[in-house]
């Protein structure tokens, strides 16, 4: 069975002024267990909307999302979400942020703290267990958010431009670390980005969306072994190809 199925999902928003905004049209996608999928498209094309629908935070106007064959009806710990703005709880220490999902599930204090520390180690922040989020840099905060999402052991991890706010160097380091974590945990990952480079570096398959209303333009398989070289020629031609797909999708070119 497919891990995740997005079945002909469409979404039309109604704004406060009564206007209708069609954000997504007939998006269909099947994801295997353990796959790393990047969803790529220009800003405003409906990437966040798609991810929110998969997470159960928004309902599709048409279509459905299935995880392990079961329809998603609302937010669930089976689908972990990592937001672009980290959305850590500033009044909780790092370790308590990571233990939050376990706390909600009623896991006892000692057990959840221990589990949280394991995930802290996984993201390389063991020394910062007792720090508050405001004492951390952007990259460190995003690692805490990753650890928090992983600690409840979701079936699928959804990430919405998680590294978009980081500087280029931190961003590259975070991409490498994410791949290491992914290889250790073998999670199914859906990673939204507007950066072609990022998608080519990370993904097993790249889902390229058109401009709004977002439809699937093409799903591009990346058959290159990891760890990938950011400067190799195969990568360069793939990048050129994907960029071409995005540019063709623009109405004014």
């Amino acid at each position: 069975m497919k891990k995740l199925v997005v079945d002909r999902v469409s979404k039309t928003f109604e704004t406060d002024t009564g206007e209708e905004v069609e954000a997504l049209r007939g998006v269909t996608l099947e994801v295997e267990e353990g796959e790393f999928i990047c969803i790529l498209g220009p800003s405003g094309c409906g990437k966040t909307t798609l991810l929110r629908i998969i997470a159960g935070l928004d309902t599709p106007s048409e279509g459905a999302v299935l995880v392990d064959g079961e329809p998603v009806r609302g937010p669930t710990p089976r689908l972990g979400m990592i937001f672009q703005d980290y959305s850590l709880y500033p009044w909780r220490r790092v370790v308590d942020n990571i233990a939050f999902g376990l706390e909600l599930a009623g896991v006892g204090k000692a057990t959840r703290t221990e589990r949280a520390r394991e995930y802290l180690e996984l993201v390389g922040l063991d020394e910062f267990a007792d720090a508050y989020p405001y004492e951390l840099s952007g990259g460190m905060r995003q690692r805490v958010a990753v650890a928090r999402a992983l600690a409840t052991e979701p079936a699928v991890v959804l990430m919405d431009e998680p590294f978009g706010a980081l500087d280029a160097q931190t961003r590259n380091a975070m991409q490498r670390e994410l791949l290491e974590i992914w290889e250790k945990t073998m999670k199914t990952v859906l990673f939204v980005t507007h950066s072609v480079d990022e998608a080519v570096f990370l993904a097993d398959r790249i889902v390229v969306l058109t401009t709004r209303p977002g439809r699937i333009r093409e799903i591009v398989a990346v058959n290159e072994a990891r760890p990938r070289d950011r400067t190799c020629t195969a990568g360069a031609s793939l990048r050129r190809y994907v960029l071409g797909l995005i540019d063709e999708g623009r109405p004014d070119t």
């Binding site: 689908l79 009044w91 405001y134």
Partner: protein, 267 residues
């Protein structure tokens, strides 16, 4: 920041560390000079006679209890009244902030009642509850209710949407969202509301104690002293009222600075 302020002060040539005392000392000097010039203790007593009252806080005044006795009475009333007001305002504010239906339903009422000063309720309070603790608690609760409510509402509305959504994707129930995200996220603002509310409650208690039939409390004491033309007692009572208000506000503010540091550092 603090350092900057001090540098500024030094630049202006005031001895460092004592600048806060300059105006109060000047004030006392002017007072004493005026008292000597007026030479009428029923209008403006000398500093010394007020100091005598303040220096003997445990001795009974005109047969109606000491400064301390009356202060304790006032404090008890303000604590009860404030607790009632806040206990109603916080849940209502959270409900209004979380569910827009509640907000739309209740808001018109709030808008109409809010501009009525607490003291305008005194006659009605007397008619309903007669003279005594109940009517005072009613006035004090009313006075603290609105600042606590409005700040709670503001705090709940300012809770980031992704904080709530992150909790939901981690499996939070509606109840858990309320207790583990919305309340702690809004708490700094709620606390500010409590501080403002307590200040107003303190003003209300003094005024409420001037209602006819009251026979204790700092408000009562200074009105009673007026009937006996004991102006030095009036002023001593006012000073105690001011100092207690200042002390409580400082305590609440200290707690706020210590516990809710994240609010400033987050942004």
């Amino acid at each position: 920041m603090r350092e900057n302020v001090q540098k500024n002060r030094r630049f202006r040539g005031t001895p460092r560390g004592f600048h806060w005392a300059v105006m109060p000392i000047l004030f006392l000097v002017v007072w004493e000079m005026a008292a000597i010039a007026i030479n009428n203790q029923f209008i403006l007593p000398r500093l010394g006679s007020v100091a005598v009252v303040l220096a003997t806080p445990f001795s009974p005044i005109l047969g109606s209890g000491s400064l301390v006795d009356n202060a304790i009475d006032s404090l008890q009333r303000v604590v009860v009244g404030f607790a009632v007001g806040a206990a109603l305002a916080v849940p209502l504010g959270v409900a209004m902030g979380r569910w827009s239906t509640v907000d739309r339903l209740v808001d018109p009422l709030i808008q109409v009642f809010r501009p009525i000063p607490p003291l305008a309720w005194v006659p009605l309070a007397l008619a309903w509850f007669k003279i005594g603790l109940a009517s005072m608690v009613f006035i004090i609760a009313l006075g603290s209710f609105f600042p606590v409510l409005l700040n709670t509402l503001d705090g709940v509305r300012s809770v980031k949407r992704t904080w709530i959504e992150a909790a939901m994707t981690l499996g939070a129930t509606e109840r858990q969202v309320l207790t583990k995200v919305i309340l702690p996220g809004a708490l700094p603002t709620i606390w500010t509301g409590m501080r403002v509310g307590f200040g107003i409650a303190w003003m209300c208690v003094v005024a409420a104690e001037m209602m006819p039939g009251t026979n204790s409390g700092l408000g009562y004491l200074i009105l009673y002293a007026y009937n006996f033309s004991q102006v030095q007692v009036i002023i001593a009572g006012m000073i105690v009222i001011g100092l207690i208000g200042l002390g409580i506000d400082t305590g609440l503010r200290r707690f706020e600075e210590r516990k809710f540091r994240w609010r400033e550092l987050e942004r």
